[in-house]
């Protein structure tokens, strides 16, 4: 299977995202004969194989059911095994658009981390683009390589185990865009500039702290990057509910007694449908800094 190409029917060896509830989903690689225990009861892999993606699958001998969903980078981001902190879909959406990514784009990324950004980027640049992703933690690099292969993405991505801050990307004039999610991104700016195409390109750096973007922006300016902007983007999810507010009892003067009897006996309420903002929500993920490298003018 491939994460970047929809298909209709689930086959053995595919990854499905098992949906139990809105808050509970997990990825499952299907092997006939295996059983997975869910809180709704035992789920037999072979009950999923051969079904359409999006089917309702009974488990626990018919006591409950789950849905088998087609994996997408967004579902993967919600369910992937965390090896590091990850970037979530709201920020990924923004960086994808702000880096001008589209099929055919060549992108350089570091660090790979848990591959949350990588999956989304690969989806957007497929089938003709390429992602070069760099990770200095050996096991993480290997695990990511393995996942990309399991998800049918190997031909779209190259995982390199390397410290990009000390050893650079080792690429020149290839990339349309560079994405940095590193503890000290400013140390990778010089080699990011080298990796970008001479015809110009875009760079994005994600950092949680002000000091990090401060140093990164200084470095970007001194390396000739232009249009440097920094943004923060947060997602607010509303709860859609029907709400009934009781009408207040303002007392009943005698002259109004009749009207009261015409209305219903029970206390009235004002009922409305509302999208209720959450009481708590993530207040900060990170700053996204963007910059453009323009084509260099040939001095004639």
């Amino acid at each position: 299977m491939s994460f970047v190409r929809y298909k209709a029917i689930v086959e053995e060896g595919d990854v499905v995202i098992v949906y139990l509830t809105h808050e509970s989903m997990f990825p499952l690689t299907l092997e006939a004969g295996r059983i997975f225990q869910t809180r709704f009861g035992a789920l037999r892999h072979s009950d999923i194989i051969g079904k359409r993606f999006g089917s309702k699958i009974l488990c626990g001998g018919g006591r409950g059911y789950v849905y088998a969903l087609h994996p997408t980078p967004e579902l993967w981001t919600l369910t992937l095994p965390h090896r590091t902190q990850i970037v979530y879909t709201t920020d990924i959406s923004m960086l994808t658009l702000q880096l001008d990514l589209k099929p055919g784009s060549v992108v350089v990324e570091s660090g790979t981390g848990s591959g949350s950004v990588s999956h989304a980027v690969i989806r957007t640049i497929a089938p003709t683009g390429h992602l070069y992703t760099f990770e200095f933690h050996q096991q993480r690099a290997e695990k990511a390589r393995e996942e990309f292969s399991d998800h049918g993405l190997s031909n779209l991505v190259t995982v390199t185990h390397r410290n990009v801050c000390t050893d650079g990307f080792g690429l020149s004039d290839v990339a349309d865009a560079v994405f940095l999610d590193l503890p000290s991104p400013w140390e990778a700016v010089a080699s990011a500039k080298l990796a970008l195409k001479k015809a110009g390109g875009r760079l994005c750096s994600f950092s949680p702290c002000v000091e990090q973007i401060q140093r990164t922006c200084d470095k970007l300016r001194s390396h000739g990057f232009c249009d440097i902007t920094t943004i923060e983007c947060l997602l607010r999810t509303f709860d859609v509910r029907t709400i009934a507010l009781p009408e207040p009892d303002l007392g009943q003067p005698d002259s109004c007694v009749q009207t009261r009897h015409e209305g219903s006996e029970t206390a009235q309420s004002f009922t409305f449908k509302s999208a209720v903002p959450p009481k708590d929500m993530p207040g900060h993920t990170g700053f996204l800094t963007f910059a453009t490298l323009y084509p260099q003018v040939e001095t004639s």
Binding site: G54, S55, L58, E232, A275, Y294, P295
Partner: protein, 510 residues
């Protein structure tokens, strides 16, 4: 590469304009006038200085003053002694005019202004930089020619006429594209009354691979922003227009033909084609006009002179290409028709809906009606609509994005059944209430998971040594999004307990 015939964005300071690259055509932007001829063949992203109405390429740091680095930030100076009166500047307006006449460069004028400003030396380096930046905006004649990317187009529409794109902010659009999992080789339905901006965004993410059904409102597909992307002609083949007023007839092929025939007859009734066309335009335009009066008037009045100038330009461009299209009959199907609509919309913007309609160089209707090229275009269009219908009927589309000025509820209900199970959709609305309604409708119907009503919040920051802070102004709203995933409605045949979808929904919330 800047190529003739392509659309490019011209940036002067923070203002963007979309123009078509043509030789010998004067461009007006932000008080500058120039010809693009010298830019043709140079890389997109090149920066130019405007001198004598011609462009001269310059390095990118031209006219950009350096941000003082941390080390240079002075602590000994402050603005304590600055006199805030109008006497600080020794140069008079006449002096400046004279300098400009003598052909002084923008930089020279600014240098003179700084030297002759009694306060300049006393200012902190930040205030100095700010002063230079401010003067730069006024006196420097630099422009940059850019590829119209989705990012820049969003900025341009948002700054100029947000109501034309239903106030769809860039971050919200970016969410739609990822949440909708738009990618190459997928089959996507788009409903877009945002100038075709969403349509263009989706096509760009599909890279011309797959199928894109455009559900359009009015009589012809409208793709103003879409055209800015300069897609190769081959991309058009993946595009299938389908009229919105035929959505209830997806499963009744006969009705589609009827609908189209009716449309033809209607325009046939009037002996004069132009009249018929104009009626169509105004009919389409009216709700918009109202909306603009109510909501957009303040914005537009601020930038009125600029907008008007721009529109005249745009209209020129439009009629030019129409002429070409009529000479070269092998033009894209319905493209000349589309342009009628473009003009209609442009009129809207100027706020002077012209009852008589713009004068067009169309042949008389009787003659035009029988024009073989026109009939051919019409046949092709019908064929495409039939194709779109067939594709929608199959019910295995991969994605649905809606961003329009209509209540999305009925649209979602009509189009969701066209999606395969386990596919995503995203519905944008400028307002929250219609999406609450959508949410409830979909919940009641079932067949969807992970229904989410969301909003994104976007804040810009100034990052400068010692001066990092959020921008003083931020956007108050970028609209709302309802997204979800489709699943099969039928219960497994082996099942004994058939639970209605609502019961399951309850289970989720506890």
């Amino acid at each position: 590469m800047i190529e003739e015939g392509d659309q490019v964005l011209i940036q002067k300071a923070n203002v963007f304009r979309l123009v078509k690259v043509e030789r010998n055509k004067k461009i007006f932007t932000e008080k500058l006038q120039f010809f693009l001829d010298n830019a043709v063949g140079l890389p997109l992203g090149s920066k130019f200085e405007v001198r004598n109405k011609q462009l001269f390429q310059v390095p990118h740091d031209s006219g950009v003053n350096q941000v003082p680095s941390e080390a240079e930030v002075d602590t000994d100076r402050n603005n304590e002694k600055i006199q805030d009166d109008n006497r600080s500047q020794k140069l008079t307006k006449e002096d400046l005019k004279e300098m400009a006449k003598q052909g002084a460069k923008g930089e020279e004028i600014i240098e003179q202004l700084a030297q002759n400003n009694a306060n300049f030396k006393d200012k902190t380096s930040f205030s100095q930089a700010k002063y230079l930046r401010k003067k730069g905006k006024k006196y420097l004649n630099y422009i940059t020619i850019l590829r119209p990317t989705l990012r820049l187009l969003c900025n341009m529409y948002m700054a100029k006429s947000p109501s034309k794109i239903c106030h769809l902010r860039v971050d919200t659009l970016s969410q739609m594209l990822t949440v909708g999992n738009i990618h190459a080789h997928s089959k996507v339905i788009v409903v877009d009354t945002c100038q075709g901006l969403v349509l263009g965004a989706v096509m760009e993410r599909m890279g011309g691979l797959g199928t894109l059904v455009q559900v359009y409102h009015g009589d012809f597909p409208f793709r103003h922003a879409y055209d800015a992307f300069n897609f190769p002609a081959s991309f058009d083949e993946t595009m299938m227009p389908y009229p919105m007023n035929q959505l209830n007839y997806i499963h009744c092929p006969q009705s589609i033909k009827d609908g189209l025939q009716r449309e033809d007859q209607e325009s046939g009734v009037t002996s004069n084609g132009e009249e018929a066309m104009d009626q169509e335009v105004t009919k389409d335009a009216e709700p918009n006009v109202e909306e603009q009066k109510v909501e957009v008037a303040p914005e537009d009045s601020i930038s009125a002179p600029r907008t008007e100038q721009l529109l005249t330009e745009e209209q020129e461009g439009v009629s030019d290409s129409k002429e070409k299209d009529e000479n070269c009959t092998a033009g894209k199907a319905s493209s000349s028709d589309t342009e009628v609509n473009v003009e209609g919309e442009s009129e809207l913007l100027t706020g002077t809906p012209n009852a008589d309609g713009p004068t067009r160089k169309r042949p008389p209707w009787k003659q035009y009606k029988k024009d073989p090229a026109r009939l051919e275009r019409q046949r092709e269009r019908k064929e495409k609509i039939e194709q779109a219908r067939a594709v929608l009927q199959q019910g295995n589309m991969d994605g649905l994005l809606i961003a329009c000025k209509f209540h999305p509820g009925p649209l979602v209900e009509a189009l969701l059944p066209c999606l395969a199970p386990s596919r995503t959709f995203a519905v944008y609305c400028q307002h929250r209430e219609p999406l609450v309604d959508c949410y409830n409708r979909l919940r009641a119907k079932g067949g969807v998971l992970k229904l989410q009503l969301t909003e994104t919040w976007l804040r810009n920051f100034q990052i400068l040594p010692g001066r990092t802070r959020p921008d003083m102004q931020m956007s108050g709203t970028g609209g709302y999004l309802l997204s979800g995933i489709t699943v099969t409605m039928e219960t497994d045949s082996t099942s004994s307990t058939t639970e209605p979808p609502l019961k399951k929904a309850k289970l989720e919330t506890d």
